[in-house]
Symmetry: C4
Subunit: 276 residues, 4 copies
């Protein structure tokens, strides 16, 4: 297992070409936030925008529209009832993030099903949170696309069938190979399983142990993979950035809130981008 080092940042975060426009930085569509977990999709969307995604659209319960826009007018929004528009948005996305605060009710399942039925091989699909659990309980075929799973250990147990105590590098890598996906296995020291092996995050602080951290990371992975061509590197850079900012803030804070991390992303990426 290789350690992720700070070198992943300049290797991934390119200097933006002068003659570029928002389309250059990708369209991210995020799907989640039922009536109870709206904050999760708000944080994921905020993380995508602050990571530099070109265009961000949030598909969520209508109950979450006002709070999303009160915080983040930069995002566009579609509510779960606008079926035709949703499919069209998924089709036009470079990256789809599905799961933050999605829940597991009938609509949640329907939304995930629609994502899986709609995406094509050229797209990146990040499956997070309850979307992983829904997938684990259903016997669906995975679509041919660039899949990224972001489970915590219990969600990985559900998806992979490997009990937490047995989640060794070899066992995890084997299931990853079957899934043909990138797996971001979140824990105290997050591990990223990829086609070319496993990478371990060396950063992270217990000050981060608070609700919403995973949603924020999912949104960051969405923003990074939308912008940076090497998906494996982009995932590693997002994981590293998330923890590195948390560590910086934890020098002065007992607990670090997800939204505080988000607001530091533009400065952190500036300081750690590729030099000329």
């Amino acid at each position: 297992m290789k350690k992720i080092t700070k070198a992943i940042l300049p290797n991934t975060i390119r200097q933006r070409p002068v003659d570029s426009y928002k389309g250059t930085y990708g369209r991210v569509v995020l799907i989640g936030g039922n009536r109870n977990f709206g904050g999760a999709i708000i944080m994921a969307s905020e993380a995508s925008v602050y990571s530099g995604a070109g265009l961000v659209t949030t598909i969520t319960d209508s109950a979450n529209q006002a709070s999303l826009h009160a915080r983040l007018p930069e995002a566009m929004v579609t509510d779960f009832s606008q079926h035709t528009q949703i499919t069209s948005l998924i089709q036009s996305a470079n990256v789809v993030v599905v799961g933050p605060g999605l829940g597991d009710d009938a609509n949640s399942i329907e939304q995930l099903k629609n994502v899986l039925a709609t995406v094509t091989p050229s797209q990146i699909v990040i499956i997070d949170g309850s979307a992983i659990s829904i997938l684990a309980s259903n016997n669906w075929n995975l679509p041919t696309t660039n899949l990224i799973f972001t489970p915590h250990q219990m969600e990985w147990q559900r998806l992979s069938g490997i009990k937490i105590a047995d989640q060794t590098e070899t066992a995890n890598q084997q299931i990853r190979n079957q899934l043909n996906a990138t797996v971001v296995l979140k824990s105290h020291r997050t591990e990223i399983y990829t086609e070319t092996g496993c990478f371990q995050n060396t950063l992270g602080t217990p000050a981060q142990a608070t609700g919403g951290m995973g949603d924020t990371l999912a949104g960051m992975i969405g923003g990074f993979t939308a912008q940076f061509a090497d998906t494996t590197n982009a995932v590693q850079a997002a994981v590293y950035t998330h923890s590195a900012i948390a560590e910086q803030l934890a020098r002065n804070q007992y607990v670090v809130l997800p939204t505080q991390i988000i607001h530091e992303i533009p400065k952190f990426m500036h300081e750690n981008q590729a030099s000329n």
Copy 2:
């Protein structure tokens, strides 16, 4: 009556163990905020999150959902109509805070009744604001659980039967013994009645004399007791922290707003945690 000193902070606020996760820091469920007093439960919830609680869920009137999430996407939310979910949330909580902005209408009474009927001995239940007054007007049996009351003097009069002028240490302690609860009697110099005696807060500033301070304190007590094993110490540390931050801000402000105190909690706790 013992004075609470700054020593309560490092004695209570432990350094977070490196290998921990959000579950380590407790699940807090807050219940309150009717159609008129939604701000109270928003501030209490915000205080719990900024105090470091691992997972926070707010049960409130649906009218308060958008404003809660606009300020605090870190919280999950359930509205008063989702009865089954509410009971399940109470069951899974480490700490339940009931009362901030709850009001005293039929639904308020129903919500409090459900809390009292659902909680078990291993849980901590903080009863604040109008929930205290409802309790005082009804002949209900108190549940066997770790009860914390946070009355101001008039609410304590209603609950204890002791008139404000007669609220001496001895009289208060006697009723506390009958209630078998911790009592945080809020005033100019807040007193905390516990199994092991009474502790008095020595801090506090008149700049704090503004609406929402009590709701904020209730949320902080929720956050502290969810994280720190010694409940009596956790209550004292929350009371001390609340006033100490207010005093710091009052050096430059004529009035200190509750939400300003809340935003300082992570830094204050960092500076005053146990040293290695």
Copy 3:
């Protein structure tokens, strides 16, 4: 006409007594904000809270509840349909501010009528914005109470019958005597007509010439008169504070927003309160 000087501040803004509580600093009820002008009552309410009022309740259209609480959880809220509660709130207030964003539809008129019918001689009633115009168009008796009008010049023309060009000190003072009210005649150099003569504001900047300034001032007058016993002084101090903060901010800003002024109030009052 006397000039208001900085001396009004320490003469008015008392050091807060150590043993005080939120009731010491008054209950302010603000009524306004129809479906189109909700921002006005939000700014007025925010100004009351940041000025140090003990308890603030906003009576407004239900459409404004979420945005009010998203900005200001410190305020309580009642919507225009809760008639019984509204009357009871007016009765219990020390200060009633009616008019910011109230509009002039049937409900606006009804709300104003109810205020005038409910208030008693011990209360302070600030009549602002469209409430002044409604009053000017109706033949109602003014209640016996401490009335403060805050018209701009056209509203004063409507109320007093004096055309803008003829609004001299003598003419204005005469109508003020008939009204038996304090009149804050807003302009480039606001004039305050009182029982004991006219006082002129010497501060103010064109950077303040933007929507919402008057609403903010009305809320500040509400907050100041709720706290400080000498109403004439309190009005002068509020007017002076409003302009003085604007001038400070205008040293670095081309335009100064009302909400930026509001957020500076606690520091400004601290720096300018009575010394020991």
Copy 4:
């Protein structure tokens, strides 16, 4: 093609006359924000207010009211269903901005039609975003008024019939002459086509390549043209200010958010206004 230089700022941004009031700085009415693109009209409105417009009213879908006021109580709001009020607001405006987030459904078309049918020669009308595309698909007569179009290159292709590759200065200027309008052709180096020739922006950073930048610029142009008598200069100054602030922020940020630019406008205009 002339380059826009920093000299445009003091040539345009006048020192505010001491004896002025909000009416001096213009009434801006902004129309846009359907159910999906509410953030666009929020950002445009915010940009108008922070640019110093005297009075700002936002006409939008009712779904956007709470989030608009949560961010910007300084704006007034009217929802798309209030037809009579909308026409009256357009009539009383100095500047109408139509298009940010308007969409292209039946209501969007109706709203734009109403603007074109209502405005008079003394008004300024800024046509942005989907309003340009609607106009390009319909065979409507343009009203006699001061028209400003703010297309990106594809919208300009639709409106002008000139393919992107063929959008030369000469071709663009010719269509501009037919339209008798100012055209702000947005790109990496925005070009402004006016009656007196074409002006090119020399600033701008790829950190700006994110959703909402155009909406923000449209609102700034609204605010600038409402205040400054020479419309051509006002447009140039708005374009320059937008990019100059973005460049400043990009010294420390990988991506610059539209709302971050907005919040810097008052300071930037102060520093770059006409000297005495």
